[in-house]
Amino acid sequence: MNENEIERRLQQAPLAKPPDVLNQRMHALFNEAWIVRSNPFLRPVPVWLAVAACFGFAAIGFGVRPLVVRRQPLPTVVVVVPSNETLARLLTGQPPPRSDGIDFSRARIQVITQPSQTPEKL
């Protein structure tokens, strides 16, 4: 038997057929895939899409946050210094007298906090 004869014999040989159980398994697989693909809630989501959605919603969240969360106004600190001549000169741009400095010993500090008008978080 030469190579051609072997080739011919091989071509004539009856091949083992795919068993019925394989066909059943495959059709079950195709049916399952069809159900999954036809239902949008069961479809697998690509990782890139999930990550992009996370970033997107985070960006939207930061954008919307100022609208729903009122910022607490910062307290305003006011230093009240009793008027005196040196200070008046300084504020009006006139040269102050050499000897006198500004006397802060009688200054008082006043912290003004605005009450929030609405609840902090809606």
Binding site: E3, P14, L15, A16, M26, A33, W34
Partner: protein
Amino acid sequence: MNESFTEQMRRFYDGHRQELYTYSLALTRNHEAAEDAIHNAFQRLLKRGSAPDDLRPYVFRCVRNAAIDDLRERLRRDDSIFDLNGNNGNASDLTLYAELGQLLAQLSDDERETIVLKVFDAMTFQEIADLRGVSINTAASWYRRGLEKLKSLWMEEVK
């Protein structure tokens, strides 16, 4: 990427199940492993949801990869690709096919795989080369060497 892809896969399987099974069985030499390889390959394909237009070499490559993955787990690998229990042919033919099956099993994996793809799945050397990622000369050489080995093994059997 919708149900039409699933239908495309189903049609491909229905049209090529015999070729795929013979190929998978030639690689695994185990009926259960051959079934699993085909099932797993299509499962992965369906999960991926897309495939190139030229499906045939792609699906065969997927089955090959699945079969190779499966080979590591199986110990028994002596099933023939031929139907030796059917009613095809007479007793002497069945004996001949059983012997041919045993001779095929003695070839290297590359030689056996190439012969199966060429003879039973009617692939060209170019298609086999693309599937295996080798040159066309290598594929042709595996085929020629495989047939030569079959011939010499057959001569030894006859002696």
